[in-house]
Symmetry: C2
Subunit: 536 residues, 2 copies
């Protein structure tokens, strides 16, 4: 087992079973899918589109992920099939890159199925590689080996390397495809000259032998199957309830819903089963949106935090993004954590991009560092502020019923993405009744931005960033009357006690309280580096 390195010391080895171990950080399939999309979006690939589908290959359902990004050389493909190799962590790339760990393809693909083929074209070379647990098991491999076969893209002939012929034989014998023609058919199915197609088979099944993803209920979506009454009944040996699952946010059971908010500002269009995923800006579904600013003392960044009321009050908390990518959804903070007494903060959604934190292995959580805890603490206080402000405001205006209505939403601009240049443009709210599925700069009602060559509209710069509302309740009140610790307690009883005190000074002079925000809610400090960089 012991292989020596050039240093004369043995290498750490990797058992084929580690492929499964490594994939178990994805508790569900959607975060695994997200890894593959991240890879297509990230710098170095920068696909304009990615197509996600379920297809039939030799009678087996397969998942396919096809993008028109820049493709890979055989060497780069080997890195993708290895562990921890990423160039994303350094240089300019890091400004945009979501990937940091060099593990997304392995953990993601092996979570979705036992076996994967990767077809990639980079203009000159087209290469197929295989990461397959079934293959490694069949040949009783002691370590993870990865067949890689390059072909000339022009002549389609095999490029002979030290292991290309053995690799080709392995793929034809042990994968779901058995002829060279099939390999080339997959290359040809990538719609552009460059790009990558991932084919995953032996997709994961539940103990009842059904695929873990439900492809039938909605033929334009990947869904988690509903839990059936009958199954629960068996577990209970008597009558059960069909309502085993509460009213949970749709992003937990619909891939389309999850992908629609996966990126604050998507740079790659996702086409799921033939239908484009429409990017939904979370903040656009909220009423009474306001923004606040968070400046962590351990970071140079100033970050915008958007708050609003969700029409569906059951789903509330902070949507935490990292480098444009959703990490945590509906994270409860501040008064939302209170388990006793009157419910406070229910229905409030916050949105923030936390580039100053580190995501965990599966990008579904942050590392639980002191910085993370400080951030949650600060977000809690800000959410309390917002809750106090918005409920007082609504009480004053005797508009409590408006909690259940969308308000203001129509006053903010609608954001659409150009299909050609992938820039985001704002159009007046009433210009379209719904976000158009297909749109390009040439349709822009605003002539200034009616061309793909116009730069993206500037978002609020870091210097301008300031809260959108005055926090009147803080100004009206007597400073330092009460202990600061009151903050969390008081937000429970907003109407009953009008004179809680928190001293706080704002750098910006009074702006109208609770006016609609001026800029798109997804803008945030640190976004400037991204503007205009799409598709590069």
């Amino acid at each position: 087992m012991a292989r020596l390195s050039e240093h004369g010391i043995r290498l750490s080895s990797m058992s084929p079973s580690f492929l499964n171990s490594n994939s178990t950080s994805h508790t569900g399939p959607f975060s695994a899918v997200a890894e593959l999309i991240d890879n297509a979006s990230d710098p170095g690939v920068s696909a304009k589109q990615i197509w996600i589908d379920v297809t039939d290959e030799a009678g087996h359902p397969c998942l396919t992920f096809t993008d028109n990004g820049s493709g890979m050389t055989p060497n780069k493909l080997h890195k993708m099939l290895s562990f921890g190799f990423t160039e994303k962590g350094s240089a300019r790339a890091s400004q945009q890159a979501i990937g940091v760990y060099g593990n997304g393809f392995k953990s993601g693909s092996m979570r979705l199925g036992r076996d994967a083929l990767i077809f990639t074209k980079n203009g000159g070379c087209q290469t197929v590689g295989m990461l397959s647990q079934t293959y490694l098991e069949n040949i009783k491999a002691q370590a993870v080996i990865v067949p890689i076969v390059p072909f000339s893209q022009q002549t389609k002939s095999l490029v002979v390397t030290e292991d290309s012929e053995a690799s080709l034989a392995a793929i034809l014998q042990h994968s779901i495809i058995s002829t060279r023609e099939q390999i080339h058919a997959h290359f040809d199915s990538i719609p552009s000259k460059k790009g990558t197609k991932i084919l995953i088979w032996n997709i994961r099944r539940a103990k009842d032998a059904k695929t873990e993803i439900d492809f039938e209920t909605d033929v334009s979506d990947f869904r988690l199957p509903k839990i059936q009454i009958e199954e629960l009944k068996k577990g209970l040996r008597s009558g059960g309830s069909a309502r085993a699952e509460q009213s949970i946010p749709d992003l937990h059971y619909s891939l389309r819903a999850y992908l629609s908010i996966l990126y604050m500002k998507p740079r790659t269009q996702i086409i799921l089963r033939g239908t484009k995923v429409l990017a939904k800006l979370v903040s656009r579904r909220l009423s009474h949106t306001e923004h606040d600013v968070y400046k962590p003392h351990f970071s140079k960044e100033k970050v915008k935090v958007t708050f609003g009321l969700n029409p569906n009050k059951d789903h509330y908390g902070i949507m935490m993004y990292h480098k444009n990518r959703l990490i945590k959804a509906y994270e409860k903070v501040g008064c939302q954590l209170k388990t006793s007494g009157q419910r406070a903060g229910v229905g409030v959604v916050g949105i923030i991009e936390c580039n100053f934190l580190k995501p965990a292995h599966n990008k579904q959580d942050f590392e639980y560092t002191k910085e993370y805890r400080l951030t949650l603490g600060a977000l809690g206080l800000k959410l309390n502020d917002y809750w106090k402000e918005v409920t007082e405001k609504m009480a004053r205006e005797r508009e409590l019923q408006s909690l259940d209505r969308l308000k203001n939403a129509d006053e903010s601009p609608m954001w659409v993405q150009c299909e050609e240049c992938l820039k985001w443009r704002s159009v007046p709210a009433h210009h379209y009744s719904a976000v158009p599925e297909s749109w390009s700069c040439s349709q822009n009602p605003n002539p200034r931005y009616r061309s793909c060559s116009s730069p993206e509209e500037e978002e609020e710069s870091e210097e301008q960033l300031a809260p959108s509302y005055q926090k009147n309740h803080r100004k009206q009140e007597h400073p330092r009357n009460r202990k600061r610790e009151a903050a969390l307690e008081t937000c429970e009883s907003l109407e009953s006690s009008g004179h809680q005190t928190l001293s706080r000074s704002w750098s910006e002079p009074g702006r109208l309280a609770l006016r609609p925000t001026r800029s798109p809610d997804h803008s945030a400090a640190g976004d400037e580096g991204r503007a205009g960089g799409g598709g590069a």
Copy 2:
């Protein structure tokens, strides 16, 4: 970069940076510590004791984990320093083994610090190995290499292998120790003839340069540091609140608290900074404990579910164990998930050992499979039952105030563990005022179990397993009067509507409602295989 395997096909490679990537599945340090304890407890090692400490080595704080288990051969140590090699998944071992992924040491140690040395003695051989990010960075390694140096345990002389001398040189040059004498001093500090000591240095620090673990506040504990008012204030540029963190369960910030409930029935005694961690049975802190039975239709197992009321009502939900090891704490189910209306299920804690589910990468979650969702659904219904029963019972007895008092607790036996044989024995509740810190079978008031040679007391077998209470509210009611979906709604308004309906038949004839449970609350179906197996 490409190394060929014996199959003539290139190996997947592992970058040194993957050591960090792989560790990021542990969002915090406590779950990383737990991995190292799991390893010491698991079959093949079966340590009776593990000592966890923070020490000073050459001026640097180091974490040490020392056990008196069976130690390792150089070959086994190499597997431990490799990825995915575990023998725990198969044969008889799997009945008891917590480890399944062959990744615990790597993910755990590299989460706690950048570098680790492992000293291990197996009776004949004593071996030191190194897994060090600093070393790999220093020598600009392209792959993870792991110096391993075996010595004769008798003569203390180096065993010459193909890489032992180069490995020794690497350790003395690049680790925190620089002489062979220091190596042998570490071997000697392992208190028995066999055993393993892990030394971790360059332990993780926050951005403020303080160690992520607070060693000062409590010198007998590892704690997560408190968030200071000042830090939050800076983040908010004005007055903040010290109450940034809510009343969270102590297991989230005190390692001692976490370790006290990490195992349902600990087989290895943990000594943290010189003081033994007293195993707390979660159920013993509850009042009104009852048990129910869950039989998943996808599994052969019948599993006991214990419910009770937590004196601290803020902490509630299901404690989910897997093979004796805590995976999820305070997971909300059933009516506890309701976000609107009257609070139901608050204060109810449930305890279950879910060996039929699969833990995720970091053992802090389960894979989100259909089986998992079915289990949560069924637990929700059972918790609703319990809540209805207990609140009705308390209403009848006009004892609502007893929600805040411990009740029944003294009637169930106290469980103590013998220091010699590690068997668990029950003693009458009033025999000791508190769990004795040091206890052996010879002190047992019950002569039948006054010797280490007596087998462990039998727990309820699977066949006997039945709910401990009658679920009166189900019997009194008219079957099929209402839709089954009512289950979750009705638990909100228990007092107001006395006649909800759920049909359900129980195999066991009437037992007294809400009597104290007969058996220890941590017993569960599937536990039999473990009885008597400790320390083997």
